[in-house]
């Protein structure tokens, strides 16, 4: 039996739940993870990633010294270099000087619009705050975004339009106070496992009624009172039909509508056409299920809605999210304990990265870059001359990639993101990556994106640095340095500050925006001075438990649930809606709908989990296909198939399962050997610029097992 040298409390680096971890460490080796049973977030429970998935920290392929590409890369012929022999190790000075020289050269030649950066929802609030500050204050560009654009952008836009705030309105653990709750577009058991077990507890032990609206028969359906198996992309029809029923049967909350909302009449008129019959035609959901769901939700004492990426990741994602918000406003199921609207955030720190301003339209704290008042505030805070900050909206994640080229974005800085796995239509992304003149990757591994870079800056993992993450229910929690940095890796915030000083020197800046922090706590304090919601968030207050924003001053205890008195924009605004179909509709050539998503054991682009023993548990992409479709194609589980869309084609094994519905296939997007995003379409929502990951047309054909990239990778599993 080994005794730990130390046990360090920190926050899980995987999903947005933000579980509290205790890392047991011997000789700087994390050998065990536990969780305190008394903490409110996860009550001692963890999922496979949190409990066992931290070994990427020690993976042999981790890059632990700065690397510079040996062959110089030219726009148009840029290549990926996965092999270490194509790189040479460099000192931090040499690597950062090279980055600074090239960025300054391109900035002087082409100006601010030629530069862009991807921040990271995996990095801390402090890291993100600093990278956006660097790009805004030094390069005067707002071309800064991160993967929020690819996940909840439409939810954020819709919530801002309707309520003026864009976070989860409840604490996740509040689910036990719901007596009816809707889960839609979320496979919670696999993607927010700890929230899922709280949901099951609510059903099994507290008698709550669960309504699942999802094209997949997810595990939570086992606990549901109603399952509405909609076709992908038909959310507006289903939820608006529920609103239609509530309006017709007068189940709405008149007092709430009068006191707390506006634009009701226009909204109610637009719902007239959404009869359950009409919705059934579009969505395939039996009209009686829509009636029952509407009555159940509207009559609930405490009703809440939880959703994840099945709602926003559509070309009409904003409308999807608005259809949910309309329901909550109509029934007054918001603003009380156990009632609310809850977009379950994907990444550990996607809420925090958004709060910290890693977005092209907003400074930290959602203060718009095109507002003169906000710009002046930040010019003052960052010591920039009046009028110096760029007042134009920057490019979003997808727009940055599209804009790559001689007259557009020439130099890209990628901190911990992997767009070569996560962007839609990866063949298009590849062509764009090849066009880059200069690419800096700040990461831990040579992944599909960083392998394209000119310079690789090795960052530490979450276990090797201090900082804070903000989880899905707005809880700012500490991340603690538990072990010494591996090799020469440095924390992201230090790398950014070091680079910023070199840039200011080269540009002969008369004033400095200040980069001399000695600890991330000073960065968070600076952020608190410009973001009112973080004004009271200080490291010394986060020692034992996190604080839920908004925290307006040093005495404010934070806010477990939002909107009890008013909405940030004043009144909640109803939005009239129309149904728009998905961009690509199945036809004879591509007869199936592909929807993409994640599995429990893997994480997103796979940089972390595919460098972990987690990969043994779920080592290959499997396309899920319904028995009826499989029979038609003569397929059985384990057969090799080729999935083809208008944009690309991949070969993988199939799993015949009723977890998916007839006409719909599902492929997880973690696996580069069969990257689902080679198939997806880059149609985007016009308001939120989020791509339509959840629906495109594909064809499945039997294929030869020889065509599999890694046929040995397989694992029999019995789990859901």
């Amino acid at each position: 039996m080994i005794q730990a040298d130390k046990i360090v409390s920190t926050t899980c680096p995987f999903c947005g739940v933000g579980c509290n971890l205790q890392l047991h460490i011997k000789d700087d080796f994390i050998y065990r993870v536990t969780s305190p049973f008394e903490n409110i977030v996860n009550q001692g429970n963890l999922c496979v990633k949190g409990r066992f998935g931290y070994d990427f920290v020690y993976h042999k392929e981790r890059v632990t010294s700065p690397l510079i590409r040996i062959t110089s890369q030219k726009p148009g012929s840029r290549t990926q270099a996965f092999d270490r022999s194509q790189w040479r190790t460099a000192s931090w000075d040499e690597a950062l000087d090279l980055v600074a020289d090239r960025l300054v050269e391109i900035y002087r030649r082409d100006g601010a619009h030629a530069l862009a950066a991807y921040c990271s929802a995996k990095a801390t609030n402090e890291d993100n705050y600093l990278l956006q500050k660097l790009y805004r204050s030094i390069f005067r560009t707002n071309n800064i975004d991160h993967c929020t654009r690819l996940c909840h952008a439409a939810s954020v836009v819709a919530l801002q339009m309707a309520l003026g705030s864009s976070a989860m309105s409840n604490t996740a653990a509040e689910v036990i106070y719901n007596d009816v709750f809707i889960v839609t577009g979320s496979n919670t058991s696999e993607n927010h496992p700890i929230i899922a077990i709280q949901m099951k507890e609510a059903v099994v032990k507290h008698g709550a009624k669960l309504i699942v609206v999802d094209p997949r028969r997810i595990e939570l359906v086992n606990y549901a009172a109603l399952w509405l198996p909609e076709k992908p992309g038909s959310d507006v029809a289903v939820f608006s039909a529920m609103a239609h029923v509530i309006l017709h049967e007068k189940l709405y909350n008149q007092r709430f509508i009068d006191d707390r909302t506006e634009n009701f009449a226009a909204f109610a008129a637009s719902m007239e056409k959404f009869t359950p019959e009409y919705a059934e035609l579009i969505s395939g959901v039996d009209r009686s299920l829509i009636l029952s769901a509407a009555r159940l939700y509207a009559n609930a004492k405490n009703g809440a809605i939880y959703w994840a990426l099945g709602i926003p990741e559509h070309s009409h994602g904003t409308a999807n999210a608005l259809s949910l918000i309309n329901l909550a406003l109509l029934t007054g199921q918001i603003g009380r304990l156990g009632t609310g609207l809850n977009p379950l955030r994907g990444q550990n720190n996607v809420q925090g990265a958004s709060d910290a301003g890693a977005m092209p339209w907003h400074y930290p704290g959602y203060q718009r870059v095109d507002s003169a008042e906000a710009a002046q505030k930040f010019e003052k805070a960052w010591n920039v001359e009046p009028g110096g900050l760029n007042r134009n909206l920057g490019l979003t994640t997808t727009e940055i990639m599209s804009a790559v080229g001689p007259k557009g974005v020439c130099a890209l800085y990628v901190m911990g993101e992997n767009p070569m796995m996560s962007e839609p239509d990866l063949n298009h992304t590849r062509r764009k990556m090849e066009q880059l003149e200069f690419l800096v990757a700040q990461d831990m591994f040579l992944n599909e994106t960083s392998s394209f870079a000119d310079v690789f800056l090795p960052a530490t993992s979450w276990a090797e640095k201090d900082g804070t993450f903000t989880n899905t229910d707005r809880r700012v929690q500490r991340v603690r340095k538990a072990i010494q940095p591996i090799g020469e890796a440095r924390p992201d915030w230090e790398i950014i500050c070091d680079l910023a000083r070199r840039l200011e020197k080269r540009l002969g800046a008369k004033t400095s925006s200040f980069w001399g922090y000695s600890h991330p706590s000073e960065v968070l304090e600076e952020m608190g001075r410009v973001v009112p919601e973080y004004a009271g968030v200080k490291y010394q207050r986060l020692e034992k438990v996190g604080l839920q924003t908004p925290v307006l001053d040093d005495l404010d205890p934070g806010m477990p649930f939002l909107f009890s008195q008013r909405f940030p924009r004043g009144k909640g605004k109803f939005h009239p809606l129309d149904y728009n179909p998905s961009t690509e509709i199945p036809d004879e050539d591509y007869p199936l709908i592909l929807t993409t998503g994640r599995v429990l054991e893997q994480w997103h682009g796979g940089s972390l989990t595919r460098h972990s023993w987690l990969d043994d548990l779920y080592p290959e992409a499997l396309v899920e296909i319904h028995p009826a479709d499989a029979a038609h194609l003569g397929l059985k589980s384990g057969d090799t198939v080729r999935a083809t869309s208008r944009r690309g084609s991949i070969v993988l094994r199939c799993k015949v399962t009723q977890k998916t519905t007839i006409g719909v296939v599902f492929i997880p997007f973690h696996f580069s050997e069969a990257a689902a995003n080679l198939l997806t379409i880059d149609a985007i929502d016009p308001q939120a610029k989020i791509p339509e990951y959840k629906s495109c047309a594909v064809r499945i054909m039997p294929a030869n097992p020889d065509e599999l990239v890694n046929p040995e990778a397989t694992q029999a599993r019995g789990r859901y």
Partner: protein, 242 residues
């Protein structure tokens, strides 16, 4: 508000709300009753019986983890009868199970002056280590059947229902249905079971390998097939104790 109930524990007056267990009521006044199978996060089923106390006028000893307080109850947490019961339980556990990684139970052994080899001719439970997945190992020679792992796998936490008791009597063990390997069961590898195991019977694989004397470098150099063993495997006995 639940009704408040007055009772005495070790002759000290206590007031506790209705439905409180004797264990909790005693803790209110700083009296520690030993527990083994009890866990704050699990439903108590009074399996191990180490927490038994004497209640005046009760025929048998009462397990404090499930026994509820009642008005006028007189509870004694230490007596010759209680100590003998606890000591015997500990001696029986020590006889059949490897308690080397259960420091709390070993401390109770000392406190109650339990004699580990009181039953020298009794058979030890000594099943082989099960190493059937890359996340954690199951060494049921160390298992005292406290049932916490089964509870958290079921409705106390995860709702996965992958493990339960198998066999009966002395042969009782925690196992999977049809003795499938864990990956083939409904297990989701959340490891809640590892988190509540009091005796080191369930252990993260990397911790176990470290204890086997492998260095972190050696552990991280294991190939996929070395990490993902399919079969039950005997581990050579260390120092001949097994």
């Amino acid at each position: 508000m639940a009704e408040m109930i007055s009772l005495t524990i070790d002759d000290q007056p206590v007031s506790a709300s209705e439905g409180t267990t004797i264990l909790k009521a005693a803790a209110q006044i700083g009296i520690d009753i030993p527990t083994i199978c009890f866990h704050e996060a699990c439903t108590s089923y009074a399996l191990c019986r180490i927490c038994v106390v004497e209640v005046e006028n009760a025929r048998t000893l009462v397990p404090a983890c499930v026994g509820k307080v009642s008005s006028g109850m007189k509870v004694h947490t230490r007596s010759e009868r209680i100590d003998r019961s606890r000591r015997t339980l500990l001696e029986m556990l020590a006889t059949t199970v490897d308690l080397s990684e259960a420091p709390e139970i070993l401390a109770y052994m000392q406190e109650y002056q339990a004699v580990p080899d009181r039953f020298p001719s009794a058979e030890r439970r000594d099943p082989p280590i099960i190493d059937d997945n890359p996340m954690f190992i199951r060494d049921y020679a160390k298992c005292i059947l406290c049932w916490r792992c089964v509870q958290v796998c079921a409705s106390d936490a995860q709702f996965a229902y992958a493990i339960n008791f198998i066999e009966r009597g002395f042969e009782t063990q925690i196992g999977t249905f049809f003795e499938q390997s864990l990956p083939e069961t409904s297990c989701v590898f959340c490891g809640q079971c590892v988190g509540v195991c009091p005796t080191g019977a369930l252990k993260p694989k990397r911790q176990w390998l470290l204890e086997q004397g492998q260095t972190p470098d050696e552990i991280m150099a294991l190939t996929r097939s070395e990490r993902r063993r399919r079969m039950r495997r005997e581990v050579p006995a260390e120092g001949g104790t097994r």
